[in-house]
């Protein structure tokens, strides 16, 4: 796993749960979608570096075993702690079954406060290109990427004989505080 930067450069930032949030949103579909929930899942163990210098880039690693269900909405029944724990177990046993979660950028183009990022994401043992935009407005790093599970060989979760499904595309978002430039002296 790449180590986060120590943040010594004024253009370099070390990010993690202490100064940001990494979230995953999943949606449900299917004839029995009423039985399921749209999920907001938090990643509790991750680290990233954002280096906006000339040879900069973004690197992120996350522990696939650290996903916790924060809330489930749109279901006929309320998700209790037991159900949330069952979902987390299912993620570990049936979805993110192997390997680390690792992202490395291959190019970043800055336009004002907008960063257009391209890179490679390793997920469930497979590496695949991904592109997304981030904003650095107001000293925060914000943005989201769409992860199409089947691009990484992940079969979207289904239940109730296929009548309840998680959509193939899930949204991964980041919202982290970037230290102000003058914080670095």
């Amino acid at each position: 796993m790449p180590k986060p930067s120590t943040g010594t450069s004024e253009l370099s930032h070390a990010l993690g749960p202490e100064n940001g949030a990494l979230m995953v949103r999943t949606r449900k579909r299917g004839a029995a979608s009423k039985a399921g929930h749209n999920l907001l899942i938090g990643v509790t163990s991750w680290q990233a570096t954002l280096d906006l210098g000339e040879d900069g880039g973004i690197a992120l690693t996350a522990d696939p075993a650290s996903l916790v269900v924060i809330e489930g909405t749109g279901g006929a029944m309320t998700l209790g702690d037991e159900e949330k724990a069952a979902i987390e177990q299912t993620i570990g046993e049936e979805v993110l079954t192997s390997g680390p979660i690792e992202f490395r950028s291959t190019s970043i183009a800055a336009d004002g406060d907008t960063l257009s990022v391209e890179g490679e994401l390793e997920l469930a043992g497979r590496r695949h290109p991904i592109a997304f935009e981030l904003s650095t407005e107001d000293d925060r790093l914000r943005g989201s990427a769409t992860v199409k599970q089947t691009d990484w060989g992940i079969e979207p979760y289904t239940a109730l004989f296929g009548t309840l499904k998680v959509t193939d595309e899930v949204e991964v978002s980041i919202n982290a505080m970037l230290p102000r430039r003058d914080d670095h002296g």
Binding site: A31, K34, I87, F161, G162
Partner: protein, 142 residues
């Protein structure tokens, strides 16, 4: 009461399929999540089915019995009577098989109550339809 009609084809003789549907040890595992707990007689078994509903799962336990069989017409009726484990729900069904060379038809008349029915009849019909459809595919491969 929910009534559904399905058919299956596996290219096998009617006699072969007739033996398969009357062999509860082979038939019950063809239902996703279904298993035989105890074979109580040649025509009856105690069984259970675990239905995963995403985060939640429901288990129904009860009996499966062959209540009618006409070997000449290759027609049989199986009766399922079950209760939700740890809940108030019921799932009962009469399943009528009519076989011919190459496959057969399945008529399901089901009554479901409790949590499984709380999603509404439309959802329940879709789920049952998918369950029986999956069952026919597994049955065709037996």
């Amino acid at each position: 009461m929910v009534e559904l009609d399905h058919s299956f084809s596996n290219g096998k003789p009617a006699d072969y399929n007739w033996e398969a549907i009357l062999d509860l040890d082979r038939l019950i595992p063809c239902v996703e999540g279904g298993k035989v707990i105890e074979r109580t007689s040649p025509t009856e078994a105690r069984a259970e089915i675990k239905v995963k509903m995403g985060a939640m799962s429901l288990t129904f336990a009860g009996t499966v019995a062959v209540i009618e069989q006409d070997a000449d017409a290759h027609r049989a009726v199986l009766q399922v009577k079950s209760k939700e484990v740890g809940g108030q729900g019921l799932a009962n069904a009469d399943v009528t098989f009519a076989l011919s060379d190459g496959g057969g038809t399945i008529h399901t008349a089901a009554q479901i109550s409790g949590k499984a029915a709380s999603m509404g009849e439309g959802v329940m019909v879709n789920v049952l339809d998918a369950l029986v459809d999956d069952f026919t595919k597994k049955l065709a491969a037996v």
